[in-house]
């Protein structure tokens, strides 16, 4: 049963190996002539104004929140997807009401303007 996952594990190992190999080889082969200017962060050739790791607007976070909400709801669909033929019409009605709830949520978010950028 879990045998099928062994190749997957092997592939993860190989992929990690390739990533490490490639990074270290280029570290060894490439020249190392660092200067202060070269190591400065690129900001179109000017001295950077302030730190880049600064606060970021809440709007991006809002997108993430909405995603989590909807993605969790999508997950509920997946078990249904396998058995929906057996469940027949009653299952369809149940799932339909679930979709309706989802749609109400989407409409609410939409009307609140959370999906509009500015």
């Amino acid at each position: 049963m879990l045998d099928a996952y062994v190749p997957l594990l092997a592939m993860v190992g190989i992929a990690v190996f390739i990533a490490v190999f490639v990074l270290s080889v280029s570290r060894i082969l490439g020249p190392q002539k660092a200067t202060v200017r070269k190591l400065a962060p690129y900001e179109s050739g000017m001295e950077p104004i302030g730190d880049a790791m600064a606060r970021f607007p809440i709007k991006f976070n809002l997108v993430a929140m909405l995603f989590i909400l909807f993605d969790v709801e999508v997950i509920f669909f997946f078990p249904y997807a396998l058995v929906y033929r057996q469940l027949g019409i009653p299952g369809l009605i149940e799932m339909g009401s679930f979709v309706l709830v989802l749609l109400v949520g989407l409409t609410y978010v939409w009307k609140k303007g959370a999906l509009t950028w500015d």
């Binding site: 900001e43 179109s44 050739g45 000017m46 950077p48 104004i49 302030g50 600064a54 606060r55 970021f56 607007p57 709007k59 991006f60 950028w117 500015d118």
Partner: protein, 414 residues
């Protein structure tokens, strides 16, 4: 303009960087340029960003300052001409023309009809080639990369014509005080005809890729709009002004070089946004093709003839004359060692360059070198309106906006 709106101003870069460095702003302050792929040269914009939204922009220029205007004071009038090529490097012939017309107006000399017509023809070709670069880079800035290469295909044809007449593809210096540098070469008319024949279909091709492209419309319509009052107050000229609905074109308003004899229209639009500037420039290319065709017909009908003024104090005698006539030899020698001396006074001549109103102001103190030269550079003045247009737009729009203003940094900094 009767009233002046004092709220229109151009912020200084310091007004953004200093609060940011003092930690007084929550917004991200970003240097866009001088070394940035889409600031069309070494323009530096200090951008204050709230997420993706542009709160404030301050253009900072001077990174390409070459001292051209000052240097011209140390050259004779003929030598200084060469420097004008280097200001707006996408339209050298337009700069040549503006300068040459200013000097000629100081000298009060007559230019043969043939030279005038050739100037009109070449300057209109220059307008097309400049607009092609604008179109290509504008499309490239919105990542429609193919248009760029299509535009350069046709520009190549124009540059070939320039090479044919002057020997140089970009820095032509072909217009001289008193006329042209050389006669038009053999094969000039077929080359122009080939271009005029092919160009309208090629403009259709670009329009097919962009004009009705939904993403293109979405990215440009309603973005970076400016009304005619604000545009006039910022001193905008050229396609940017005409897109707001003001039909101001020096070629019609104060005709020079015989533009009054050609049939062409001024394309205008009403919304003043990026899309309208795009439409106006596309229509201008079509009009320019018409002017080129008319000028070519006229030149052909004129046949051979003089291409520079007969005044030997201004234009050099033909080479063959120098070997036969002492007087010609003296003229030649005087002209290339000392130069000519325009009377004391000043002159300012404006032309319609691809970017707008390009005027050259020359003060003469009676010596063979100009006392002061100043260019009213359309790129520089149009750029003033950028912060006004960019406020409240998204960062991606800023890139499109710069492209739609079509600044040439060589001309901005001079």
């Amino acid at each position: 303009m009767t009233t002046i709106d004092h709220s229109l101003s151009v912020p200084s870069p310091r007004s953004i960087t200093e609060p940011a460095l003092a930690g007084k702003t929550q917004n991200m302050v970003l240097n866009m340029g001088p070394h940035h792929p889409s600031t069309h040269g070494v323009l530096r914009l200090v951008v204050e960003l709230d997420g993706e939204t542009v709160v404030n922009v301050a253009p900072d220029m001077g990174f390409l300052h070459t001292g051209i205007e000052k240097n011209m004071e140390y050259k004779t009038y003929q030598q200084a001409l060469v420097m004008t090529d280097r200001t707006d490097y996408l339209a050298p012939l337009s700069n040549n023309l503006s300068y040459v017309l200013a000097v000629e107006s100081l000298l009060q000399c007559d230019i043969p009809e043939r030279a005038q017509t050739a100037r009109v023809l070449l300057v209109e070709l220059q307008r097309i080639s400049s607009h092609l670069v604008w179109l290509g880079t504008h499309a490239l800035d919105l990542a429609a990369m193919s248009v760029f290469l299509y535009g350069f295909r046709e520009r190549e044809q124009i540059l070939d014509i320039f090479e044919m007449v002057s020997g140089a593809r970009m820095m032509t210096s072909y217009f001289r005080v008193g006329g042209l540098a050389y006669d038009l070469p053999e094969g000039f008319f077929p080359a122009v005809k080939a271009f005029v024949d092919v160009m309208p279909a090629r403009i259709d091709e670009y329009e097919a890729l962009l004009t009705n492209n939904l993403i293109w419309q979405e990215r440009t319509m309603g973005v970076g709009a400016i009304d005619s009052a604000a545009a006039l107050q910022y001193g905008m000229t050229g396609p940017g002004l005409r897109a707001t609905g003001v039909a101001w074109d020096i070629r019609k308003a104060m005709p020079y070089s015989g533009y009054e004899n050609y049939t062409f229209a001024i394309p205008t639009a009403t919304n003043g946004d990026i899309y309208d500037r795009y439409l106006v420039r596309m229509a201008e290319m079509r009009e320019s093709v018409k002017i080129v065709a008319q000028a070519a017909t006229r030149l052909k009908d004129m046949g051979d003839g003089p291409w520079q003024t007969a005044d030997r104090k201004i234009a050099p005698p033909p080479k063959i004359e120098i070997t036969q006539s002492m007087e010609s030899l003296i003229h030649h020698f005087k002209l290339w060692t000392e130069g000519f001396k325009p009377p004391r006074g000043d002159a300012m001549v404006a032309i319609e360059s691809p970017r707008g109103e390009l005027a050259t102001y020359i003060v003469s103190d009676g010596s063979p070198k100009p006392y002061r030269v100043h260019m009213r550079a359309p790129s520089f003045i149009n750029l003033q309106a950028l912060p006004h247009m960019a406020k409240g737009q998204l960062m991606a729009d800023l890139v499109a906006l710069i492209a739609s203003l079509d600044p040439v940094l060589g001309e901005v900094d001079r």
